[in-house]
């Protein structure tokens, strides 16, 4: 197979007169040509409204859409009927919180963590306020790992109905002990909801093997397009939920007085879906599998080790997590604001993210106002790591920071 880098048009561009070095994969990823081609086909040759027409375009479009759902279901080891297409992780997490929250009683507890991305935290805050739920925050240890003992002590107190956690933190890059959490949760009868946005491009996911009850991720962090994603919920739980948004496409019967709704997943997919987006997401899953997890993970381990070693050598740099599981590093530079580091790197053609990465509570927990985050994927090269470090050193020199 060709070098995967060569299959991604967006990686081959000049930024501020430099070749682009893209270290912002945790924010969004670039699409390979095969994904772009699949979407163009969905929007041209096979274009019609899904599940709504008798003409050929509508039929082909419906087939393509359902094939995409099936591919994504296989990508995570799920049944097709458990896979609900969404506009992305944020919508998926809102749906889970809203729909699952309807089944909770005032006083019930939802366990979140200090790692929670705003897309994970805010929907539960809204539901908690509406339904009188108690939200509790699980802390992390210095390595960025969730405290299982805290989770167990909350469970022992009783009343915990849902534990909602990220698979991999978008700020720390640390993989969380999901299987251990699931084991504890099962003992005490709590459900486990996973935000897998950051994991989908780095780890194979098998929802049944993980034993979780719901798992949500988006397409654009796994080399697919923006505006598409998936909410997976275990069949027996999903079938109890009322629809989140109602309208055409989700109904079985409609009269002026009342309506009945279809079985999942269609019950949760009212309105015309983002067909091209889901087709692109499925093509992205195919692309990842065609490269292979073994190759992806082996390359990412090497990139992580090289970056970690280089960053640790600079005394002016403090890493938020020293032992990430993926090549993702959030850091502060002594006496230099993250935005200045980010802009100066941009002038060198290097894209990173700066700020709080939609995780204000985690930054507050560790006392950082803002951090610079370099997030790599297997597409990056060791040479790019060297150029990144050289650029950082030159920035330190310009700003008079002693290394």
């Amino acid at each position: 197979m060709n070098d995967p880098r060569h299959q991604i048009p967006a990686l081959h561009q000049r930024v501020h007169d430099h070749d682009l070095i893209y270290f912002d994969h945790a924010a969004t990823t670039h699409m390979p040509q095969s994904v772009l081609n699949s979407m163009i086909e969905a929007m041209t040759v096979q274009h019609g409204n899904v599940r709504r027409g008798v003409h050929q375009g509508a039929t082909l479009s419906t087939q393509l859409y359902e094939q995409s759902r099936a591919k994504i279901a296989r990508f995570i080891g799920a049944k097709n009927s458990e896979v609900v297409c969404t506009s992305g992780t944020t919508q998926g997490l809102n749906m889970v919180a809203h729909c699952a929250g309807e089944g909770l009683q005032s006083g019930d507890t939802v366990l979140l963590s200090v790692l929670a991305h705003h897309a994970h935290l805010l929907p539960w805050q809204a539901v908690a306020s509406r339904r009188g739920l108690s939200l509790q925050c699980v802390p992390i240890d210095p390595k960025g790992m969730l405290s299982l003992s805290h989770i167990e002590s909350y469970l022992k107190k009783g009343g915990v109905k849902i534990i909602a956690l990220p698979f991999i933190s978008n700020v720390l890059g640390v993989e969380q002990p999901i299987r251990e959490v699931v084991s504890l949760a099962k003992t005490y009868g709590a459900k486990v909801v996973i935000d897998a946005a950051q994991a989908a491009a780095h780890r194979p996911i098998d929802v049944h093997e993980m034993g979780v009850d719901a798992l949500v991720f988006g397409s654009h962090k796994m080399f697919g397009p923006t505006g598409a994603g998936v909410m997976w919920v275990k069949e027996d739980w999903l079938s109890c939920w009322a629809p989140f948004v109602v309208g055409g496409g989700s109904v079985e019967t409609v009269s002026f007085e009342q309506s009945t709704f279809l079985e999942p997943p269609y019950r949760f997919e009212s309105g015309t879906p983002n067909v091209a987006g889901m087709v692109g997401m499925a093509a992205a899953a195919d692309w990842i599998l065609s490269i292979g997890w073994e190759k992806i993970q082996a390359k990412e381990r090497k990139l992580r080790d090289k970056m970690r070693s280089a960053l640790m050598k600079r005394e002016c740099i403090t890493l938020m997590a020293c032992e990430p599981d993926i090549p993702l590093f959030s850091f502060v530079v002594d006496n230099v604001h993250a935005h200045d580091v980010g802009t100066m790197l941009d002038f060198c053609g290097i894209a990173v993210r700066t700020g709080q990465h939609c995780a204000a509570p985690l930054h507050e927990f560790w006392g950082f106002a803002a951090t610079t985050r370099a997030s790599l994927s297997f597409l990056n090269t060791f040479g790019e790591c060297d150029t990144f470090m050289e650029a950082l050193d030159s920035i330190f020199k310009q700003l008079g920071v002693s290394q």
């Binding site: 230099v336 604001h337 935005h339 200045d340 802009t343 941009d346």
Partner: protein
């Protein structure tokens, strides 16, 4: 045209009017929760004249330099002149970003490199956003001002 020019870095490393007044007549805060930047303003306004101004800025180089330049420019000025100037500043920055003409304004000119990084506009305008409101306030907004 460089954003991080020597003059900007000098201003950010050794900002003028840094600190907080112990006996302000006016005090206020402007902050951007998205990046954590925060500017505390303390002013002494006597007979409509700004006789002293101090800022404590936690932020990036652009934000600190901007607060420093702003504090210097308002000292000794009448508030009725300062407020319209301060309030028009964000629009002046927008205009600077929209066209490529030379900049004559000495405060704006130090930030002309923003044309290469327009997403950083708010870093520059943040100190200005809170100042006019601070001037309009008749009493200090925070009674006990925490030490920097």
């Amino acid at each position: 045209m460089k954003l991080y020019s020597a003059s900007l870095l000098r201003e950010s490393k050794k900002p003028s009017c840094a600190g907080l007044l112990s006996n302000p007549t006016h005090a206020g805060v402007s902050s951007n929760p998205l990046c954590g930047d925060r500017i505390q303003w303390t002013l002494r306004i006597v007979d409509d004249k700004i006789v002293d101004a101090r800022h404590h800025t936690r932020g990036c180089a652009l934000c600190i330099a901007s607060a420093s330049l702003l504090a210097q420019r308002i000292l000794g000025k009448r508030t009725y002149r300062v407020v319209p100037w301060v309030e028009s500043f964000p629009e002046s920055v927008s205009k600077m970003l929209e066209n490529q003409e030379d900049i004559s304004d000495d405060v704006l000119s130090i930030f002309v490199g923003l044309r290469h990084a327009p997403s950083r506009k708010r870093c520059v305008t943040l100190p200005w956003e809170g100042l006019s409101e601070t001037i309009r306030g008749s009493k200090p907004k925070c009674k006990a001002i925490p030490k920097p």
